[in-house]
Symmetry: C2
Subunit: 167 residues, 2 copies
Amino acid sequence: MKIIINAKPLSKKLFAPYGDVIETNETNSFIINRGTTKRFHDLAEIDFAQNDGKPIINLFRSQPRKLPIVITMMERHLLGSQLFFPIGGLPYLVVVAEAKNLITPEDLNVFTATGIQGVNYHRGVWHHPLLVLQPNTDFLVIDRGSAQNDLEEVSFLSNKNHWVINF
Amino acid sequence: MKIIINAKPLSKKLFAPYGDVIETNETNSFIINRGTTKRFHDLAEIDFAQNDGKPIINLFRSQPRKLPIVITMMERHLLGSQLFFPIGGLPYLVVVAEAKNLITPEDLNVFTATGIQGVNYHRGVWHHPLLVLQPNTDFLVIDRGSAQNDLEEVSFLSNKNHWVINF
């Protein structure tokens, strides 16, 4: 059976169980550089302290998948947070589930992010790999650097239903 | 007397004495997410370890200054690196001097950055506050969070010359 998951617009409030939305807003901002710059301050909980991790900076260039988008797996990182910010103004989809040990497709939540919203998945939060809507959608990515492998995956392929995103 | 400083196009090679240029290139990249994403890996030396600093994530929205741009001061942070990545594709100027104790305007180097190039000033490197060319030029900024003040400034106002950027 095909089950539709409807995407909602990304907002700080709805995304709070999963992590941070990085966007400009009037809260927690102040003027610096003698009036020329507005600083929106400290917008994400960066969490790499486990096992002496350190932040690394990367660029990701992502391509769209075939439609319809069927969710067959999710992943998470137990040792660190992971932040994605689009750098070309293009929108994308965000698929998440809360940081518990066992998840099923019923736990999924899907958001549409604008091209000027970033997300920071908190440590242990399940998320789908990048789902972009246009070719060569680029992101600045801040994640945890370590020789240690920090990827946990869950597959939904044995689920009798197909979980399809509507956006 | 008016002294012109000519800006050069930003490149990894020319910027090496000051920090990192964050941009896509064919070196140190690999394919992830089952073929859908190219990861340009570990592009900047993030350095917040002094005095138990931690990374904080911010957005800066900057406005152009009046032309001509006269450089009357520089600043630096002795406790941490500072990274700027433009998120709307707009170009900007980068003014730097090497991380020594005393600098004069003769030490300045000026670069034009495209809207898809970020810079990461290494700890102690002198830099001018943001110099953007169009209204509402936005950046993602990664710097060191701390209650401790970490700003050192030098003024060139007593210098008998005016140091003007040509770009």
